[in-house]
Symmetry: C2
Subunit: 161 residues, 2 copies
Amino acid sequence: MPGAPDGPTRWLDQDEMRAWLGLLGIVMELPQALDRQLRAEAGIGHAYYSILAVLSSSPNQESRLRDIAALTGTSLSRLSHAIDALQGKGWVLRQPSDDARRSTARLTPAGAAMLERVAPGHVSEVRRLVFDRLDPQDVRHLAEISAKLRSAGDRADGPPP
Amino acid sequence: MPGAPDGPTRWLDQDEMRAWLGLLGIVMELPQALDRQLRAEAGIGHAYYSILAVLSSSPNQESRLRDIAALTGTSLSRLSHAIDALQGKGWVLRQPSDDARRSTARLTPAGAAMLERVAPGHVSEVRRLVFDRLDPQDVRHLAEISAKLRSAGDRADGPPP
DNA sequence: AATATTAACTTGAAGTTTCAAGTTGCTTAT
DNA sequence: ATAAGCAACTTGAAACTTCAAGTTAATATT
């Protein structure tokens, strides 16, 4: 009995429904907006951009795939495909990992250069879409709420109990 | 000069960064969690589910594609492909629109039946992921914030200036 | 009354993500 | 020391989304 709640279904009340539709709106439209801007500037979407951003602030501009996956919230499979694509563009390189089994990804100079080029535009887009519309209180509330929702879904690849 | 901000880049401060990373986390993980549950119960993701949900609460269980697109926040192209798929599953039917050019989509009895079957599980998942973790104040804040962010990105298909 | 424009889609190809099924090289227990 | 088990990926196919380029029918222009 997978999805059946115990008692009779408790539907969303009016306040909850307003919040839910609002949240859904954000969750559908924000990524699209970010993707549009980045794709116009850099030719990649936000998911790929995040990968580069993570690498860029990693110790040696490099990191193990598992770690990137954890930080960006994607599955290893998705990451692996993404690294293929980014490598094709010359922005990332796979490296036969120093430590153990399998590889590490490293940001190339070209990748770092392109990040430097588009980061300012990206930040200003984030301001335009989000922070220009919120006052400091909203920002605090948003941080609190998102902390409470964190780890909402359990991993896509993660271990089954 | 597409993405270049006017002055020197104004990066995110610490509070903004916390809120931004939190928001990104939500925006990446919530859809995945919703998709997983719905795909297990119904064999479709949340985007497709929303289409059926919109139809189900429309006047004649039917609606013009443009209206569905507006309500679900997707492009017409995406919708058109989605309707193909949903029609293939027997949950939706295209109808040569009564009024003007092109079609309307209508929920089939099978579609309505499956919605009734999975809706309770879906709502309880939404509670588990979101509302069980928030108090009434958070819910109000969330509604306020999402209202402020609304219409953040301008349409994907929309008219260029 | 032609013609141009626009709105509402449809279509196909290319790119991205998911899912299931491999590999491969550490660990750990036997 | 050897076999099981596991962790960290890789791979390929199918599903989904985006993008650019059509259609087609209403509407507005001349």
